[in-house]
Each structure stands twice: as structure tokens, then as C-alpha cells.
Amino acid sequence: MTIIELNGLTKYYGKNRGIEDVTFSVEEGEIFGFIGPNGAGKSTAIRTLLNLIYPTKGSAMIMGRDVVKDSQKIRKFTGYLPSEVHYYEDMKVKELFAYSGGFYKKDCARNASYLAERLELDTSRKIEDLSFGNRKKVGIVQAMLHDPRVLILDEPTSGLDPLMQNVFFDLIREARDKGATIFFSSHYLSEVQKLCDRVAIIKEGRLIKVENMEDIRTNQFKNVSLLFHDASKANVNIDGMLQKERIPHGIRFLYSGSSRALLDQLKTVPFDDILIEEPSLEEVFIHYYEKGGVES
């Protein structure tokens, strides 16, 4: 069953582009990632799904309901975590949870305290005294306290320390095991890699492609720098080498393929030093961008 469906979704803010003609769908039980650099239009797409903003063209459905017409119904079974977490400063955390839970026709108190406990969040504190990371936790709890069927999370992990990120990932997996479908945005590829089944990549408002994580895993990206004392040896050719550039005392390139194959090939290269790094999303994007998403 298709849970989230975007059909040629387009949003312009006056003349400024938000997103253009974005089409893809998320299936039931999936953890679906949505990645792109800042300003690519991730939040615009997500806010349109929540009907915070109205689409200029195109449409979107959540569980078969139109996001504009049936917005209120959709929000009954949807949980949303905004990228910027701002709550009523005068409230205590537990008051906010009670306020939040009060909008649903069921008792959410127990679930809220369970989630808060898992995230080690002190619910007796005032919102205004909370750090950014703790506010993020408040956001996660208020998005999940009514056991939503659909979870839409806009950059959920920013601000959480690595330990809490893992707790959060566990909560996401638990929700999925209970039957929820999760759609979340990020600008960290590694985070998406850890969690997602599929991922949509967006840049400058346009969908570049939707990939299976399996494919991305076999098609790993690495940033490789090779340094040579003798610059004349720097003529290297490796299968899967992209965007080769010269740097002082060596070369640098983006590698796409399996890491093992990379190591096998590097054995024969007479380098003096080597640096293999996780590429930034930007670099991977440039790769996708050059290919233009033609290849599937």
C-alpha cells in the first residue's frame, strides 16, 4: 500500500522556487529518507505534506487522502517533527505533552512518559530552560506520543548527541515494527544509510532520483586522497574513479563502487600516504548532478 504520494508537487514562494515537479511515493512500513543540501526544498516538500503551506501546482496524498482537502484527518494519524523546534516557552515539558495529547481522542500520557524516559528527558522542566538538544527530544516525543501511522520528521537528529541519536533510531525502528511508515529528511548521507530502506535525493527543488539503500550500499562513495613524493608517479587509474583532481603532492578523487574493490586496486599503486574519507553529501551530489539522474 502506498502511504505517501507526491504528484508533480510544485511550490513557489512568489517568484522564488521552493520545489518543482516532485513526484515519488513511500510504501507502507518503509523508512524513507529524503536528502539534499540546505535550501534544496526538503522542508518545503514536508510542510506541503502537512498543509502548512499550499502547493502552487500538483498534489500529494497521505494514506489515500488529499493533503489539502483532508488535512485535518491526515493529522490524526500523522506525527510531525519540524526542523526548527519551538514550543510555548511558558509551559513545562509535561504541560506541553498534555496539550499536545489533548488534541487526539485517546490517552497519550503513558506513551509520552515512556518516550521521555527513553530519551532521558526531564518533563518537569520549563521549555524556556531547555537546551537545543532537549528541545529536539520534546519535539520527538510530541510527534510520537499518539502512536502515529505516519511519521514525518524534518532533520530529526540535528542537535542530538550520538548516544541519543542511537536511542532515537531505536524508537524509529520500534515504531516501524508496530506498523508505522517513516519519512524523514536529513543532510547526512551516513545517517540515512544507517536507517533507511529507500532514499529520495533532491537538489535545487528538483527530485534527482529515488534509490534503494541496497544499491547505494553496493555503490559506496569514498573520498580518496593519494600523496606521492615523486609527482611523476601520480598517474593513477582506478575503476570507479570520479572527478579526479590534482592537489599539491598528489591527487584526490571520488570513488564509487565497493570499498573492497578499491583496496584491491590500490595495492598496486605506489603511493606514499593515503587518506580515505566519507565524502560530504555535496560531493556525492555533484556526482549525481553530473549524471543528471538519467541512469537508474
Binding site: R47, N51, Y54, E89, Y99
Partner: protein, 265 residues
């Protein structure tokens, strides 16, 4: 949910305003006995005032010689002008604060329609102003009792208490509509305050200078003119309908605008 929260959240500011305005009004009434005791001197002094000033503050048609007249000249100003400022500020922040404080993404991710948000907030404004006016009127009544043993015409007292409430509702509705249209709290507060003060200015101008008389239709302060109310024991029906019309139109505008607004932060 929203209604309850908004009423609760408004209480602190509401009571501060009540104490300030009620206190002023009570203080003013407490000096009335001295005024009344020196009536002749007062009349002599009044003759020295320029006519424009007497007109501006309704001192030509109302006398200082009854508690009601005294209140209508001195205390009424506080309740109408400052009460309107309070009403405009409270109603003006009502909708826009969710955007300014970026809490709208939280609120609108809950299963509540935008129409309902506007309705509950409008109702909260109404409740706050009702409470505000009831308590102020009670304080005023206590002030009258304190000022003298003279019997108070309860009909006039009711009218002179109802009129500020209608005035506050009018300014609140205008500010409420602006609150739905704009995106920044500060801008809404400035514009709403400007509207109140400008209206007051127009009211003074039109009561002094006859050639500006048509201005009286654009200033709600004229709608609740204390001299007319005390003389006729009524608010002009035309003005009551004007105020009701403004309130209804403004709430509808707020609803229509908010329904289609892009609420990104």
C-alpha cells in the same frame, strides 16, 4: 484546548491592566467629594478654560456636579483609551504569535482545523475582554459608592459600562484581523496601536472643530461618546450596528485569510 490555554495565558497581563486602570479610575472617583464641595470655585475655573478644551473632554455638556458626570469626564477616558490599547495589544498578538514564536508548526500538525483555531482564539479574546470589563465596572461601581451617597442611575451606569466593552471589542476585532494577515508580532502591535491612537486623535479633532465633523464616523471613540450616553441613556443604534459590523467583518476576514495563509516559519 486552544481556548482554555489562551484565556489562561492572558490572565497575568489582564489583571495587571485591571489593577492599573481600575486603580486610576478609583483614585479619580475618590477626589470627587472635594470637587463637589467646592462647586462654585470649580464653575469659575471652568469659565477660564478655552472652549476647545471643554469640548474635547465633553466638559461643556457634562457637569462635574454628579459622580457620573465626573466619571464620564475623568475616568471614562482611562477605560476607553487605555482599555482599547490593551484590547488591541491582546487581540493583535492572538494569532500572529504562533508564527512569531514559531509554534505554528506544532499547532498545525495536530488534528485541528485552521477555522477552529481562529474561532477558539476569537472566543478567547471575547472572554478576556468580557472579564476585563466586568471587573473594571465593578471597581467603578465601588468608586461611585465611595464618592458619595447619591443614588446612581443604574441604567446609565450599565450603558456607560457596556459602551467601553463594545469599543474594546471593535478595536480587538480590527487588531485580530491584522494579526491573521501579518507575519510579525511587532508589526501587528505597532499598527494596532497606531489605529487606536489615531482614532482617539480624530475623535478630539472632530469634537473641537466642526468642519472635521464627518470624522466622527471613522473613529470608534465617537461611537461611545459619554455625553451622548448619559444624556440619552443609550448608545446610538447606528453606532452599535457599525461596531457590530466591524467585529463581524474583521473576524470573517481573519478566518478567510488564515484559511489560505502559508504558515512557514
Amino acid at each position: 484546548m486552544i481556548y482554555k490555554r489562551e484565556v489562561k495565558q492572558a490572565q497575568k497581563a489582564l489583571w495587571i491592566w485591571i489593577i492599573a486602570l481600575g486603580g486610576m479610575s478609583f483614585l479619580i472617583m475618590s477626589v470627587y467629594p472635594q470637587f463637589a464641595a467646592n462647586k462654585e470655585q470649580l464653575d469659575d475655573m471652568m469659565k477660564l478654560y478655552p472652549e476647545a478644551m471643554l469640548k474635547a473632554f465633553n466638559m461643556d455638556s457634562l457637569g462635574f456636579d454628579t459622580p457620573l458626570g465626573f466619571y464620564a469626564i475623568e475616568g471614562y477616558l482611562f477605560v476607553t483609551l487605555f482599555g482599547s490599547i490593551y484590547a488591541a495589544m491582546m487581540a493583535g498578538s492572538m494569532i500572529v504569535k504562533e508564527e512569531s514564536e514559531k509554534t505554528v508548526e506544532f499547532l498545525l500538525s495536530k488534528p485541528v482545523s485552521r477555522g477552529r483555531i481562529v474561532a477558539e482564539k476569537a472566543l478567547a479574546v471575547f472572554t478576556n475582554l468580557l472579564l476585563f470589563n466586568i471587573v473594571l465596572s465593578l471597581i467603578n461601581y465601588a468608586g461611585f459608592r465611595y464618592a458619595g451617597d447619591e443614588a446612581i442611575d443604574m441604567k446609565i451606569f450599565f450603558m456607560i459600562s457596556l459602551a467601553p466593552f463594545l469599543l474594546h471589542l471593535t478595536f480587538a476585532a480590527i487588531a485580530f484581523a491584522i494579526s491573521a494577515i501579518m507575519r510579525k508580532s511587532r508589526a501587528v502591535t505597532s499598527i494596532s496601536l497606531a489605529i487606536v491612537l489615531l482614532s482617539y486623535f480624530f475623535d478630539i479633532v472632530q469634537s473641537i472643530a466642526e468642519k472635521f465633523e464627518p470624522l466622527k464616523y471613522v473613529t470608534p471613540f465617537e461611537y461611545v461618546d459619554s455625553a451622548y450616553i448619559i444624556e440619552h441613556t443609550a448608545i446610538k443604534p447606528l453606532y452599535v450596528s457599525l461596531m457590530a459590523g466591524i467585529v463581524v467583518i474583521c473576524v470573517l476576514v481573519a478566518y478567510a485569510v488564515y484559511k489560505r495563509k502559508d504558515l512557514s516559519v
